[in-house]
């Protein structure tokens, strides 16, 4: 167990590789109850969300979810988030655990002029992420909802093992799957039932290797209050609209996020990335890819080097060759 965002979190249950493989081949479940949930309600909820996010929330329909960003007022991101639309004038926002208080303060500071109410429901909800190609098949016998009719980013009330829950066809592993929003008091029972039907418990370690293979940026690594959000390849999250911090996002990013492949030596966050001996950036996340069998990493490099193909990464004082690799490193079939 390790401390993470004020929670004690399991890094692994049986082993990172085994858990990672279970999600890629069958199904695993992550306890992501540490994520924060804010309910946004009122006649001005949509206008407020349009003001504080970069994506176009007006495109959402009841029962649908959308990946989105909370831009800061000084450039950078306050957080990257998911917004789930319940009905007209009611949304659920899921935020990163380490950012709950910061996001809450930021959102509160921008409510002026909007007829909107924010409720912090982080204590109420537990969140279990069932991920992997077998997720639908394994869950289907235990819910009355036809899961095959629910496409990616669907969000709907359902019963699961007889409990009233909300399900979302979302996740952050690069695989199909469902996130189960459950009352915190029922989470342990549901967790046990998920394991009993053959879903593998998976910890933070596998969650990180999976999202990294899928090329998903993680807040605190590829995103922060000071990293230009367009450094990543996620410019589609910024739509043509007026919002907080718009002026910063319009500027060209000084750095670009790239993927790197190494032959053998794993590289970690903070290691210098060089071209011809000169430091041009640093590693933001790195691991040995369980699926690909070699080390992979994401790095922020000077924008001028975004198309450079070969780099060196300094590991304990020694430079190791690295090759640029397009993101995502791995795409599920």
């Amino acid at each position: 167990m390790v401390p993470f965002g004020g929670w004690d979190m399991p890094v692994q249950y049986t082993g990172v590789k085994a858990e990672h493989d279970a999600v890629r081949r069958a199904a695993g479940v992550f306890d992501v109850s540490h994520m924060g949930e804010f309910r946004v309600t009122g006649p001005g909820a949509l206008a407020f969300l349009q003001h504080v996010t970069t994506n176009d929330v007006s495109k959402l329909r009841p029962g649908r979810a959308q990946y989105n960003w909370l831009p800061g007022t000084q450039g950078g991101l306050v957080d990257d988030i998911y917004i789930y639309m319940v009905r007209e004038g009611e949304y659920l926002m899921v935020v990163n655990a380490s950012n709950v208080s910061k996001d809450w303060a930021h959102l509160q500071a921008h409510t002026a002029g909007f007829d909107v109410q924010l409720t912090d429901e982080s204590e109420r909800w537990a969140l279990l992420a069932v991920q992997g190609p077998q997720s639908e098949t394994l869950l289907q016998p235990h819910t009355s909802t036809d899961l095959s009719s629910k496409k990616k980013n669907a969000y709907f009330p359902a019963t699961l093992f007889g409990f009233d829950v909300w399900l979302a066809r979302t996740g952050y592993t690069g695989e199909d799957g469902f996130e189960v929003f459950t009352d915190a008091s029922e989470a342990e029972t549901i967790w046990d039932k998920l394991l009993a039907i053959g879903i593998t418990p998976a910890g933070l370690g596998a969650r990180d290797t999976l999202r990294l293979e899928a090329g998903f940026p993680l807040y605190g690594h590829e995103f922060s209050d000071s990293i230009h959000p367009l450094s990543s390849t996620y410019s589609w999250v910024v739509k043509d609209k007026t919002h907080v911090g718009r002026e910063h996002i319009s500027l060209a990013p000084p750095q670009k996020l790239i993927g790197l492949k190494l032959d053998r030596v794993p590289v970690r966050e903070g290691y210098p990335v060089k071209v011809g001996g000169e430091v041009v950036g640093h590693i933001t996340s790195g691991t040995s890819s369980p699926t690909l069998g070699h080390p992979i990493a994401m790095a922020l490099v000077q924008a001028a080097h975004a198309s450079t193909d070969t780099f060196e990464v300094e590991v304990r004082g020694k430079d190791h060759p690295a090759t640029r690799m397009d993101l995502p490193f791995y795409k599920s079939s």
């Binding site: 082993g15 990172v16 290797t209 053998r264 030596v265 691991t287 040995s288 369980p290």
Partner: protein
């Protein structure tokens, strides 16, 4: 339940030392580290002091320093680990050994019982 052979000596930093100078990491340490994916070994001929950082074992999640449990000269390293670093997990006291020292002086080492009770 991890294995702690009685014929070895142990450092608090989880290295074991055999009577012939062979060094590895303990079953407890490999279990804590998880899947080992890379091992960086010292150069043969290097002279080291007990307690000095001498190798690095990398698991999927993290890089961990390995310390010399004794002073001496490196006389051999386990070349098999470059192709099969997972030996550190599967055979920490046998095929997963790290390097061999010509020992000139031991560090502060424990017997198996003391090490096992310290890591219970």
């Amino acid at each position: 339940m991890t294995n702690t052979p009685t014929e070895l000596k142990y450092a608090a930093s989880h290295e074991w030392l055999a009577a012939d100078g062979t060094v590895g990491i303990t079953d407890f340490a490999q279990d804590q580290l998880g899947d080992v994916v890379y091992v960086e070994l010292p150069e043969v001929g290097r002279v080291v002091e007990a307690g000095e950082t001498i190798a690095v074992v990398e698991s999927v999640k993290t890089a961990s320093d390995i310390y010399a449990p004794a002073s001496g000269t490196i006389i051999a390293v386990n070349e098999d680990l470059s192709g099969s670093p997972e030996l550190v997990n599967s055979a920490p006291y046998e095929g997963g050994w790290l390097f061999k020292l010509d020992v000139t002086g031991e560090g502060d080492l424990m017997d198996a019982a003391a090490y096992a009770s310290a890591n219970n």
